[in-house]
Assembly symmetry: C2
Homo-oligomer: 303 residues x 2
């Protein structure tokens, strides 16, 4: 008989720049939660991975024998313990079965592997997103937007193929470091300018090969008075998300609907872009998805 | 009777970050030359435009009444004296005829206008490149590579349409600031890896919508051993120049041959990419072109 006030495991999403931990009951109920900036990059400086993990578990009064399941960059070669990639097409079961136990600590800590697409025409990797996808429990086309957005084609609980897009990082570089920074300014609330945003999406869907020119046009338009500078951030955001959608259409099997796994303003932006591009969307919260995926893996590993 | 040892004019290409001045005889012979980093951005700090110009003219012992013809960003609104854009389609004659005289100095100094394409679907501007194009004296498709590459369609001595591509700036941001910097490293000699460079060009010509993914693949490939990190800079360079060519094909009337106005390693790269994309190329030196264009304009203004 399960006790839903007793933690079954700690579930950790340990990314490049962020750390999130939940104490989970066997039914998935959240009994405690911690978030910090002690991602992979700063964890070593902060006393190493075991010290960071122990301090958060102690602050939640977790039992000393509570097992821990981890996904994300902690399993990278430059992370805590390398959890070698599972190859795509990757059954979601195989991800849990290939978790790597951390031998150097007494507690039962398992790190989930990422997924690799070892295809010379479209090499790709993910670490962490596979656990979100596992948590979604959905077949079809999945979009996980971010600094490096991931799109995956899932069928029968298997990641068939996936593609990463440098969308968020390109936006940050163009808006913050390029000549466009003078036009784009500081206000990046693209959905405050929905028409300009949708125009950007359409431009890259209709003429995807013109993107290096469309970027410059963001500066030339306001200079010539054919566009307003207030629209520039929304146009830039639309151009890049439109380019991502155009790319996903090219690289992955197309579908009428997309499962959008995101939260906050980014979720709203992608939803607007996907609807404008003609997709039906189903929105799933990214936090809930990763927690569900970690719980499913923990059940496999610890039950 | 012209005297080819006596300067006819001083010709100045005054860009954002560079200053170049030639003393020219009436037949175009170069009687003296100065180059410095006193572009528009630093000219004001260095004592203002007149002081910078006078110091270079004095160092070449130019006569006090020698007229000066200027092209480039010195004619921008934030430059010395604004020379309002001529509208495209722009006859090359109209550029010289719309030179603006600098009233605040005794010497006869004329600043050539840039060209604007006031088209809401593809707004664009150039300042300086129109003078190079004037100097080429060529009809057809012209490519002037750089930080912001320009492609123009020229017929009957008229710039019919043109497109700017943020190719060089995007390369610098991706190679120097993005996650790709770990893979691309410092060695950017793309032509040392001709196969990788051509592969990048082909990738963007064949599937231009996939570029945000192709960028990430530059990192994923070496991580998975399907590509070598030594190829990454060449691939990146090829991807971006390929995207530029794909964009130019989309935006401008296509042609079998391209006049490539460039010099140095960038010229070699673009020639390789254009040939790989199936174009015949005719190479013209960028310095000679701008000098010829300035001389042609000076003849109109000062003869």
């Amino acid at each position: 008989m399960s006790d839903n006030a007793t933690p079954f495991c700690a579930a950790v999403d340990w990314g490049t720049s962020s750390f999130r931990l939940w104490l989970l009951a066997e039914d998935g109920g959240v009994l405690g939660e911690k978030r910090s900036r002690e991602g992979m990059q700063s964890a070593v400086a902060a006393g190493g991975f075991p010290a960071v993990l122990d301090s958060h578990l102690a602050s939640l009064s977790a039992p000393p024998d509570l097992p821990v399941i981890v996904c994300g960059m902690a399993g990278a070669r430059q992370g805590w313990v390398e959890a070698p990639y599972v190859e795509a097409p990757a059954a979601l079961d195989a991800i849990a079965l290939n978790a790597v136990r951390v031998e150097s600590v007494a507690r039962d800590v398992r790190i989930l592997p990422g997924v690799a697409q070892r295809d010379s025409a479209r090499p790709d990797v993910m670490r962490g997103e596979e656990t979100q996808i596992m948590g979604l429990g959905a077949d079809g086309l999945v979009c996980l937007p971010g600094t490096h957005s991931k799109w995956a084609s899932v069928s029968d609980n298997r990641i068939e193929a996936f593609s990463t897009f440098m969308t968020g990082e390109t936006f940050a570089l163009m808006a913050g470091q390029s000549i466009l920074r003078h036009t784009v300014g500081e206000n990046h609330e693209a959905l405050a300018r929905p028409e300009a945003f949708r125009k950007g999406v359409s431009d890259c869907l209709d003429a995807p090969e013109a993107w290096l020119n469309r970027l410059f046009a963001l500066r030339a338009g306001p200079l010539l008075g054919t566009a307003t500078p207030e629209d520039a951030a929304a146009r830039l955001s639309g151009l890049l998300i439109g380019a991502e959608i155009a790319g996903a259409r090219r690289l992955l099997p197309d579908a009428r609907s997309v499962v959008l796994c995101a939260s906050g303003p980014l979720c709203d932006l992608y939803e607007a872009a996907l609807v404008h591009a003609g997709y039906e969307t189903r929105i799933e919260d990214a936090d809930i998805a990763v927690r569900s995926g970690l719980l499913a893996a923990a059940r496999r590993c610890f039950s």
